[in-house]
Symmetry: C2
């Protein structure tokens, strides 16, 4: 694996296009996935200006289509329009939020339609992360509505995304069970107004989770951990609650439809399912880009409007540190931002 | 866990009911699930006329609603009507196939609507297993049609059910990838006209599976093993095929919608998912009774008619041995029928 900064020349903006000076771009877990993939991070090394690491042999098969391709990174970001196509002159000087990849750069040539103009006075930092986390959190709620569930279990819930979800569910009166990994994270979410927070590091985790599910009636879960037993533990807790309500023992488990989505891979190890949850269950992958295509367009419209309306409140992100572009590949910096500690988030400021 | 034969008195058949002398009832894996559940079979012991076994402590929590309840067993069977309600006198003397539980008995009082009258000359053995396996195999095909897939992967494919599926898919021109566990089973299915048979005991299993999936275009799988890595291996093979066809590398995996259903638990150990298959996947439980409620009623009607039409061909079952009711609880007999060897099937002949 080889990561480097590269000089590119960009053409003048054509019709429908603008050239943006990128001022801030967050490092999301999905960006780290593209940057480092399954590389063995203990083998990180500088090679001139580039950063290299070994890919374990077992992971190479699935990476075959990736070999030899140079891929720019950075899903989203914000900046100022410094040049514009002939039909986009009104965009000149505006600060915009962008989605579309290749944001870890000084300049980004992009379709004006893929930019959201920020309100007067908004900073690039406020606009840098208005797509991935906000739309994902709102996407969970719209998925819940579309699939007929009434409450959500979320893990790990103390992330920036999780904090947005707490605010959304509180405002909308939606039951939310937050799974966190420490007492400190529990305090953080309670401070935001979360009602149901359970700590997976506690001895009473499973019974706490079961009671929270019973109180909210949650039959839908979103899990960004992916590996290990989190999804399995959630489904088993849902089944325990559903069986309590059942009139008689059913050897095939309850008929309650239990759905879990794995939307991340913070733990890239295997998912372990202890199938004590009968036969009425579903586990699937959930990916924002594909969910946006599947959801009702009216719902997507509603989501986008809400992000714009609540950018400085519900959808405000908090950053652990700011990293200039030229420091992004320094090994000590990399070591910090690849940790993926819940609630820590880094911002690249080209 | 305690299993025993019990004397019961049955009332006279009322309106809409018939009394059937049960002549044959198969032991399906789903029956074994109800009979023994998670019991530790190494602790099987006679206790007077009953059979007992210890339930491991870890399994007790999920069995709480089951404790102290006596549950009759035997999902399906066939027999002769020996008494009938006043409005069902036309059923007298008819041989019928039945679904509805409590079939491991000399007599079964049942709604006439739950019986299928067998053609003149049909034996009870021919009629004993006309519900669970035939409707499950046809249910796979109807699920495939309803969800927009074009071919199926099935494991383990050499079972009675698997053999029916081979015949159905051959007759209907549907692509079917059969996963078997030995060269002998491979021969068996080839003899029935199966085109794609891959042997999980072979060194080339994964590449054989991938090529068979490529040739059929299968994006749907049914797995009765449940535990271990079978489902995971199938989804990864589907993803390998889908990525080959992709125009460019996508870090989130292919957009090809891959669906796997776990419809049994021959291996009750945990399901292990090595998520090399991107984010467009779904795994769910599949249960005949619930699928019949979900499927289009016209499809279910079509399924039932086909079972009646093809009972001696497509849906003929083969039995390893016949067991009189009084021998069902003898330890040596139990040891044989709980093995769940693929392709072995036992028939109780009360």
């Amino acid at each position: 694996m080889r990561l480097n900064l590269e000089k590119v020349s960009l053409p003048e903006p054509g019709p429908g296009q603008v050239l943006v000076r990128v001022e801030a771009a967050p490092i999301n877990p999905s960006d780290l996935g593209l940057m480092f993939g399954p590389a063995d991070m203990s083998t990180l090394a500088r090679d001139g200006d580039a950063l290299t690491a070994r890919i374990p042999d077992a992971a190479m098969a699935s990476l075959k289509p990736r070999l030899g391709q140079s891929m720019p990174v950075g899903n989203e970001g914000a900046g100022t329009v410094i040049a514009a196509g002939p039909d986009q002159q009104g965009m000149m000087g505006k600060r915009v939020a962008m989605l579309g990849g290749a944001m870890y750069a000084r300049l980004r040539l992009i379709a004006a339609a893929e930019c959201m103009v920020l309100p007067e006075g908004a900073t690039a930092e406020q606009g840098a992360a208005l797509y991935v986390n906000p739309l994902t959190a709102l996407g969970f709620v719209e998925t819940m509505r579309a699939e007929g569930h009434k409450a959500i279990v979320h893990a790990p819930a103390a992330s920036n995304l999780g904090q947005m979800l707490v605010k959304i569910c509180k405002a909308d009166g939606i039951g939310l069970v937050n799974i966190v990994r420490s007492p400190r994270q529990m305090e953080l979410l309670r401070g935001l107004g979360a009602t149901h927070v359970v700590d997976s590091s506690s001895d009473t985790f499973r019974s706490d989770l079961t009671e929270a599910i019973a109180e909210t009636g949650a039959t839908l879960a979103f899990d960004a951990i992916g590996g290990g037993e989190t999804t399995s533990i959630i489904l088993n807790a849902m089944e325990t609650v559903a069986s309590r309500d059942a009139a008689a023992y059913d050897r095939y488990g309850s008929a309650s439809a239990k759905q879990a989505y794995i939307y991340g891979a913070l733990d890239t190890g295997p998912t372990i399912l202890r199938r004590g949850f009968g036969f009425s269950w579903n586990i699937g992958g959930w990916l924002l880009f594909r969910a946006l295509q599947r959801l009702d367009p009216a719902a997507v419209q509603r989501m986008r409007k809400r992000v714009a309306d609540e950018m400085t409140t519900t959808f405000a992100s908090h950053y652990t540190a700011r990293i200039p572009l030229e420091q992004v590949l320094e090994p000590e910096t990399v070591a910090a931002y690849v940790r993926k500690s819940t609630g820590e988030k880094y911002l690249i400021t080209p």
